[in-house]
Amino acid sequence: MNIRLLLAACAVILTGAASAALAQDPAPSHASYFEHYEGTATCLTCHEAEAKSFFVSQHYQWRGNSPAIVNSKGRQLGKINTFNDFCTSPTGNWIGIIRNSRGETLTKGCSACHAGLGKLPSPEMSREQLENIDCLICHASGYRRDLVQLEGESFEWKPILWKNQAGLDSVSKRISKPTRVMCLRCHSASGGGANFKRGDIEYALAETTRDYDVHMGTDGVNMQCVTCHAGADHRVRGRGTDLAGTDLPGRPLSCDTAECHGNAPHKQTMLNTHAARVNCTVCHIREFARTDATDMRRDWSKTVYNKEADRYTANITLEKNVQPVYDWYNGTSRAQLLGEPARHLADGSVGIMMPVGARSDPKAKIFAFKKHTARLPKLVDRNWMVPITVEHFFANGEMEPAVKNAAHEVYGIENAKTTWVETTRMMGIFHGVQPANRALGCLDCHGEPGRMDWKALGYGGDPMMVGRGRR
């Protein structure tokens, strides 16, 4: 038999076996390791070192080294001490049950997606903090939790099976590396609804096809999130373009490294020439929010009352099948931080998180982005942005105290005077990568009308037409 044919056959068999193995439910790997699950202390019996490594990670601390933020000045940044243009900030919104007038639960706080059991992460390691880590939320198939009010005013996330020890014992022994479903439960639901925040991280990716996502399709290579994103010691590779912290700076994640596709992945030289200045996502992600609509604009200055849900919200504009916008990005970003003068972009809006890069920057490539706009409060006399303590607002619709309370919590300012300003955030789009036969064609960008704004990108016009200086 031809050796090439033999090798090809082996590759097909191995790929099929690997796919089948991934498709199966994880075995209850910890069935014989303990009898009863008694909280994180049970895990720490064998995994204290792992808990300590997780404790210092972005997933637990919600802050970390931020070398990719050009104005970080060496500070450790993350969602715990910055703000965003969705639910704005965990400050004042961390934990608690807010109900509407019918007694129905509206929200339980940002900690719903923190891999802890309810305590705020502390920079200081302690036994109490290690036992606050919720290992099962990422590692146990079928584990769910709910917020329980303890005696007094404190709350704790507890397994919904906490009164069913046999059931909890069964679930807590189903330990595996995080699967797509486990990651998507938090990462798809962020921003207040399915796919609201990111746009390209949809629940649909849990069970999808190769045509929908060439990496995660169950009829293809069926890659899990951790296939690309797992680093070492609970550190995650990749920060997108708008995360403040970089969990694993030494091992950046990119399509064009030797471990994945290399920098000349196409058979056609012309396409590889493009790849020198155009990121893969530009051609291979035609649109995002293909299943669930995503939040493209959130105007907190306009209150909307949803009678059916008996809930107040910001005025949110959802869109589906959204075409990305394109901009230069060199791997670094500029963040609008709390307590610093608001920086206005050319269009007058405040840039919450903007990619750094330009045509003249040799390290920059054109990337695909979701452009999210919002309207947020700003202090009148200090030019500082202010988050909103949104939790009670969801129930009572009173925005003014929600803003004043946030100004007090963040800056210690009483009775703050604020005004509303437009904001812009550019969010890199990296998931939902489609195979070559569904990628953009030449005329999608170089036709009339094309999807590129050549002048905004620093060209005199379409470089295919202008010709010279096309790079």
Partner: protein
């Protein structure tokens, strides 16, 4: 003029809840709705604060629900009648309806992708 005796009125009133349950259980011609059947037949005795214990689909994990329907349901409920009924609970449900309730419990168990409390 014809008069209606009080006994007949009482008998008719007793028939109303039975008719409601039987109508709910029949769901004429359509696929049985497990959630509605659960609400009509299980919640009556297993709601929050009930002396028989609160049970919702997410009280148990999928394996526990399968085991319950296979081995425990019949012995534990063989003499049960719903409040205001004379017909026994298990006699009022068809095998298809029982399967629908089981499917609802398993699909929304504590370790399912969509745990539910049946509200």
């Amino acid at each position: 003029m014809r008069t209606i005796k009080p006994k007949a009125i009482l008998a008719a009133l007793w028939m109303i809840p039975l008719a409601i349950v039987l109508t709910t259980n029949a769901v004429a011609g359509d696929k049985p709705n497990g959630k509605e059947l659960y609400k009509a037949n299980c919640k009556a005795c297993h709601d929050k604060g009930s002396k028989f214990g609160e049970f919702t689909p997410m009280t148990l994990i999928q394996d526990q629900w399968r085991g319950f329907f296979k081995e425990k349901l019949v012995p534990a409920h063989k003499d049960v009648t719903l409040p205001g009924q004379s017909i026994k609970l298990l006699d009022s449900l068809t095998p298809e309806q029982m399967k629908a309730i089981e499917k609802f419990c398993v699909d929304h168990a504590a370790d399912s992708e969509q745990p539910q409390t049946c509200t």
